[in-house]
């Protein structure tokens, strides 16, 4: 695994300043993405996985602020960049695809307009060239009638087609990092299979790294090299995909795996995680999972564990492993 690292997130804290107080959506997240690697971030709603991705892209809305931490992209801390330099990275060096293909494209402009827009800004080419490249990339994402789709409005396309268009936009400038925020959640399962397949093919020969955000463990198993499990704004487990599914260490990850119904196994009774995801403005003290944890100990209630290596490249944030580490 001697590959160079592309993105290093160190102790990232992103808080939202709302009328109801400060909400720590992302609270001390660290991870690394290497060149050509796919890292999946998995977690339930409110785990902070989407906010992490928006922080990296610099697309937080006005209420959200990066409190502390660094995001090092190709050796530069991009949290320190000016707005202008940040913008130059977006769509060029790093691109993003979103969950809702239906609302992510502007309804008033043609598909072609929206793809060539990005090409024109970052590659400084004229209209004609931009169009040529747009149609090429549309073909590449598996749109057969690329010429026709180029001239049509988004509402005429199906959800799967629109997501292909979004991928085309994202990949139009050959970004080094692609952030995919639940890109297949809103799609039907047969269409999801197509899109996942497409993404795998597209990155195979290019050294594109992917940060893949999802709640679906099946998708994780399908796509990821490394997996980050997030709970309540923090990373609780971080390892490679094979280790995670074989020897998950954190009680949350274990329960999550056991509570997922599987179609390829006979399941009599699903294991459950009792209780609900904690409210972000009333986080439990100590380990944030202690309220729902089957292995909870005295120590967990008041002291927060730290993310520690239990093996090489297998980090867990849990008191159960503290001594061994």
């Amino acid at each position: 695994m001697g590959r160079e690292s592309l993105l290093e997130v160190r102790n990232l804290k992103t808080y939202f300043y709302t009328e109801d107080g400060v909400i720590p959506s992302v609270d001390g997240v660290s991870f690394t993405i290497k060149k050509g690697e796919t890292v999946a971030v998995v977690g339930e709603s409110g785990s902070g996985k989407s906010v992490t991705s928006l922080s990296i892209m610099g697309l937080l809305d006005a209420a959200g602020k990066i409190e502390s931490g660094t995001i090092i992209f190709e050796g530069n801390d991009i949290t320190k960049l000016s707005k202008k330099d940040r913008r130059k990275l977006r769509g060029n060096e790093m691109a993003m695809i979103f969950q809702e293909p239906l609302t992510s494209l502007n309804p008033l402009f043609t598909v072609g307009n929206q793809i060539s827009e990005a090409i024109k800004i970052h590659q400084k080419v004229d209209k004609k060239e931009a169009k040529k490249r747009s149609i090429e990339i549309l073909k590449k994402v598996g749109i057969a009638r690329a010429e026709k789709v180029y001239h049509s409005y988004p509402h005429l396309l199906s959800g799967g087609m629109r997501q292909r268009v979004m991928i085309a936009i994202a990949l139009s400038c050959n970004p080094k990092l692609l952030i995919a925020d639940e890109p297949t959640t809103a799609l039907d399962v047969t269409i999801q299979a197509q899109i996942l397949q497409l993404m795998k093919e597209l990155i195979k020969d290019k050294q594109t790294s992917i940060l893949f955000i999802t709640h679906d463990l099946g998708v994780v198993a399908e796509m990821a090299d490394q997996v980050i499990v997030m709970y309540a704004g923090q990373v609780v487990e971080y390892t490679d995909v094979f280790t995670l599914f074989k020897e998950a260490a954190h009680p949350y990850t274990k329960s999550l795996l056991a509570s997922t119904p599987k179609i390829h196994e006979q399941t009599e009774k699903l294991q459950v995680i009792e209780g609900t995801v904690p409210n972000p403005n009333a986080m439990p003290s100590g380990c944030r999972f202690h309220t729902r944890c089957p292995y909870v100990m005295e120590k967990c209630m008041n002291n927060e564990p730290v993310l520690t290596n239990i093996h090489t490249r297998h980090q867990v944030k849990c008191w159960l492993y503290e001594e061994e580490g």
């Binding site: 691109a95 979103f98 502007n106 309804p107 008033l108 402009f109 990005a118 936009i169």
Partner: protein, 305 residues
Amino acid sequence: MGKYIMRRLLQIIPVLFIISFIVFCLVYVAGDPVALMLPEDASQEDILQLRESLGLNEPFYIQYFNYMVGLAQLDFGESFRYNTSALPIVLERLPATIELAVAAMIVAIMIAIPLGIWSATKKNSAIDVVATGGAVIWKAMPNFWLGIMLILIFSVMLGWFPVSGRGTWSHLILPAITLGTGIAAEMTRFIRSSMLEIMNQDYVRTARSKGLKEFFVIHKHAFRNALIPVVTITALQTSTVVGGTLITESVFSWPGLGQLLIQAVNTRDMAIVQASVFIIAFIVIAMNLLADILYKLLDPRITFR
């Protein structure tokens, strides 16, 4: 498209029917115009004779029928004050009202669009506070009072503009500002809130994720979308604008439909009232139809159904 317009036109028919019925009922209840039409010392016989000739002794439904037959021929009856058919008199006054309304709309649009966009994109900035604050105060001011105060300041104290009447450009300025700023207040608030809503849409985030400059994000991606409701609302404001001209005309003695109408109301000249109501309703309906068509033209998602 043609079919859509046809269908909308067909929908207008019942509306015109209902309006005519409401107006007829009002006129019917208003009762006898005869007393007003004849000199005070008219004999009982004269009165009866006039009633007979006007068809006022017929039962309700016959009168309604006669009235509808008249309407079909665009005959709103005779104005007893002008002793002539009412419609030409109303139409003669219409250009003045339209001139005022159009001028006011131009003033409103020129103020509201930049202010609405600015205050939405710089939410909570000084511009936003001034724009939204101004809009609320303007909305709270009775338009006729604003007119009077403008006359007081700019005509009486400063002597820049004439106090009343119509004719030159300078006659138009104060009434247009009075009415236009009033409309602009509501419009600014509307544009601001639709811009704010659109700035939160996924496709605006997509535009940003492409690395577009904020200027293009706002003016290309967001404003084009905000424009759709704004255009619609502007056309739908016709009713308010026409209502506003009635009062503004009265304040500035602007010789338009409003002035005519208020005179007619005071003298109970129902033929003029009817004709004016119809003309105004017709304009409003036409503008609403236009708004619908524009809406559908601006938004490629909508197909004509």
